[in-house]
Structures are given as C-alpha cells and as structure tokens.
Amino acid sequence: MNSPSSNGHVALEVNRLNFYYGSSKALADITMRVPTRKITAIIGPSGCGKSTFLRCFNRMNDLIPGTRLEGEVVYHGENLYTPDVDPAEVRRRIGMVFQKPNPFPKSIYENIAYGPRINGFKGNRDELVERTLRQAALWDEVKDKLKESGLSLSGGQQQRLCIARALAVEPEVILMDEPCSALDPIATLKIEDLMRELVQNYTIIIVTHNMQQAARVSDYTAMMMLTDDRKSGTVIEFDDSNMIFTRPKDKRTEDYVTGRFG
C-alpha cells in the first residue's frame, strides 16, 4: 500500500516511523517513499498528525521538548536521525513553508538574503535575490520596493515571499504545511500554479485540508487516519492522486475523499 505505481527516484524514504510527544504516541508505524520532483499531498482529518508527520522530514519536531522518534527517515542514503546528522544541515536541504505567512520583520531583500548569509553564501547576493523572487513569481510585484518591509505585502505575496525565502538556500525538498489556509482563492491559485512550476526542480510535500487542492496539484497522495485505538495517526493509503480520488482501495479513504466523513 505504501509504494505508488511509479518507479521513479525516491527523495525520502520513511521506514517504520513512530513518533511520541512525551509518552503519547502521535504517529504509528509509517512507511512510505516520497518520489523525487513530484508533489506529494498528505491529507486526512484534523488531529491525525499530518503536520507532525511533515515536520519529521526536516527535524522541526526537535524544537519541541519531550518529543521522540523511532524508525528512519532516509535521505540520500542516510538516516536523518542518526546522531551525527546536524538538524541545521537537514533544514537547509529540506526547506519549509508554514501555515501562516511568517516573513521576518525585515526588508523584502533581507528576507531572501538572510538564509544564504547564515549558511555562508559567498556569491552575488543581488542576483540571488532576483533569481529567487522570479522563481517564486514575485519579482514583478516587488522589484521596486525591495527595501520595504516584508510585512507590507499582502497575505498571498507574503506567502510567496516565504517560498522564495525557502528557495534561496537551495534546498532539494520543500515542505508545505497548509500553505494556503490563510489565503483567499486567488492567492491560493497563484501558489498552486507556483507549486506546479517548482516541482520541475524540487520535491514538494504538502499538507492540506483542502481536498480539491490535493486533487488539483498533487501527483501522489497519502491518506492519514487515526489508528483503531484513536490515539495515534498513520498513513492508511498512499497512491497516485488519481487513484486516491477516483478509485481508493481503502473504504475509509473513499469515505473521506467523497466527503462522507471528516
């Protein structure tokens, strides 16, 4: 169930992953392979651990005291959770965009330039800023006001700024945690177009509550649910998005995507 039909390259491989907040098990026994340069959507009802799972990919959960992970997340042949792997290095390679746009309270230029600077970028900064903003389809809107605060932009622009910021450190994978939930439909559409654009060069994993969005943008979809004891979440089905949304194998997935539940 956890290996979609395609036999392309695998960007991230999750093996028998369990995750704990203190003593309560939040994620149980997840195994799946995230394909390279595809959009993988994670869907499922509230509270089933989608965001927690997403944050396992770049070790953002490390920032929460009292959390623990069992199993492996393999990236380029290496388990991200071996002791000698530095989370900062992981996060540089696997970027993240958050639910609510969270630009730094600095200029638009600085928002982009910050990541490369702390990671020791030596090249031409102006060029990098322009390239990244173009990639995020934001350049034309902000090229005349790079010195203005990132917070002066609209919500949708702020979110694209955050995507640009993530791109600036040249990651291979971008994690998106409900990136459109705070945006209006037009801004949402722009982000979705942007994702289709970016997937040519990046592997994208997106958590979304919006089923249409998952169906529209994603190549693959992982369906998450609480386990039978209703305590921890797990992936119950992972497949081509077409399959998930038209001919799901699991009854629970079918109920969820057809809106009969959740």
Binding site: P65, E89, R92, M96, P105, Y114, N119, L151
Partner: protein
C-alpha cells in the same frame, strides 16, 4: 416561558440595576485615580514652593558647603550619572545574558525552576540587604573601597532581578513563528537568537533596563550601607573615586537644622524628579521608536 413582547418589565428593571452597578464601579475607579493624582500634585506643589527659588545655576556648579547659598549638587549629580552609567553597563549584559540562558538554553529541570523562582524572590529583597552584601564583598573583600565601582556593583545586584524578569518577558513575547522561520532555513540556535529573538525583544529589554535604572537613581539605603559619602568637594574623575548621589545629598540637607538647607533639598528633589522623568521619557521614546521598525503595518 415564551416571549410575547419586546418589552419585558422585569428584565428592564434588572437591566437598570445592572447599569447602575456599572456606573458605580466607574465612579469608584475615577476616585481612585483622582486620589493618586491629587497626592502627587500636592507633593509637587509643596516641593515647588520651597525649592523653585533655589533652582539657580549655583545648584549645578557648586559643591556642597556649610552655607546654603553656596551649596550645590555638582558632586552628587556627577555621582548619580557615573553610578547609573556603570550600573547599566554591568547589569544589562549580565541580566540579558541570564534571561537568554533561562529562556533559550536552560533544561527544564528542578534546578532551573529553583533558579527562576528565586530570581523573582530576589526582586523583593530589601535593598539594604544588597548594601550589606556589597559592603562585605565589593568594598572590603575586593578592596574597591567606597568607590563608584563598588556602588555600581551593589546597585547592579539590586536591579538585576528586575532586568532579568523584564528581559525574559520580552524574549517570551517573540512570536514562535519567527523562530521557526529562522530554524527552517538552517539557522543554528545562536543565529536565531542573535538575528531574530534579540532584535525583536530589544525594545522590551531596554524598557526594563531604563525603568530599573530609574529605580536605582532613587535608591539610597544600599549606598549609605556601603558608605557613600555626602560631603564631596571635588570632581569625579573615574569609577574608583569616592562619590555621593542625589538622594543621599538631599537626605543630608534635610537632616540639617537650617530652614534654608531644607529649601535647597527641595530644589534637589526637583532635579531628581527631572532626571527620573527624563529617563522614563527616554524609555518610552526608545520603545516606540524600536517597535515601529517591527510593526511597519
């Protein structure tokens, strides 16, 4: 019970009573603030009637003297300025450092909680206790004598708890999303703290510093304990000199029998108040200015 009409007499009666209670409370609160303001005003009028006539250039240019008309605050003003400056230089870095450690690095265990509770407790310790500590350690043990440095170190102890608590509040007010954004770009903890947490928390921390320093200006007990003098007839030239401060000088004048000295003391109080107000105004200005940089919207 079904509602048959919009107007319900019983309800309207109760509503009138509820509104009356609201107004009553409003009046009580108003009286409270009038009382506070009135006492302040009274105090100020009292001081102003005695002291305004003595607000002369000599007050700033003269050292203390046996003759009231030749008495001035020159050495006390210098002492106060030196003391605040050195105290701030010592207390701010230490206080902010402690706050950063407690908020960002300290493990969540018994020892940390013990320290946290006791920092809050220290803020309530009478300042004369710090004076005794300063006398034993800085004046005697470290042989700093009754110098500005010994005074500033002692005063740093007095205000450190306040600075730590204020700085921790300021750090805690930094939005979590901001930290996450930084970490998600591969920033280390120190980079996140230095580039985002500290700048964002700075206005709050500076406000804490200035407010606690304005407390330090008015403190007398710890400085008397370490033996700051009252009769200094030379200019301060460095942190190792003997010194006095405004409140000690004022206290000294008030304890003299001559009426004229009491009036000079009143003038001194006006100066002290002016310094305090200036510092508080600076705190507010600084805070607003720095905050504006963050809330461009």
């Amino acid at each position: 019970m079904s509602v048959t009409a919009l107007r319900d007499q019983a309800f309207e009666k109760r509503l009138a009573a509820r509104k009356r209670n609201g107004r009553l409370f409003e009046v009580i609160c108003l009286l409270a603030i009038i009382f506070g303001m009135f006492m302040l005003l009274l105090l100020f009028i009292d001081i102003a009637t005695d002291g305004l006539a003595w607000l002369r250039p000599q007050l700033f240019s003269e050292f203390p003297s046996r003759f009231p008309e030749e008495s001035g605050l020159r050495s006390a003003l210098q002492g106060t300025l030196w003391l605040i400056l050195v105290t701030g230089l010592i207390a701010f870095p230490i206080g902010v450092g402690a706050a950063i450690y407690l908020e960002e690095y300290a493990p969540d265990n018994r020892l940390t909680r013990f320290i946290e509770v006791n920092i809050s407790n220290l803020a309530g310790v009478p300042s004369i206790i710090y004076g005794l500590l300063g006398l034993a350690i800085f004046v005697r043990e470290l042989e700093l004598g009754r110098s500005v440095l010994a005074g500033a170190l002692t005063m740093s102890l007095v205000i450190l708890p306040t600075i730590i608590v204020a700085s921790r509040e300021a750090i805690r007010a930094v939005p979590r999303s901001l930290r996450q954004a930084s970490f998600a770009l591969g920033a280390t903890k120190w980079q996140t703290v230095r580039n985002h947490v500290l700048p964002y928390a700075m206005p709050g921390m500076l406000t804490g510093l200035i407010l606690s320093m304005s407390r330090a200006i008015g403190e007398t007990a710890p400085l008397i304990t370490i033996g700051a003098l009252t009769y200094i007839r030379f200019d301060l030239s460095g942190p190792l000199d003997l010194f006095t401060v405004l409140p000690i000088q004022i206290f000294n004048w008030i304890s003299l029998p001559q009426k004229e000295f009491h009036d000079v003391a009143a003038a001194g109080i006006i100066i002290l108040l002016a310094v305090l107000l200036t510092m508080n105004a600076a705190a507010i200005y600084l805070r607003n200015r720095l905050q504006m940089r963050w809330q461009d919207l």
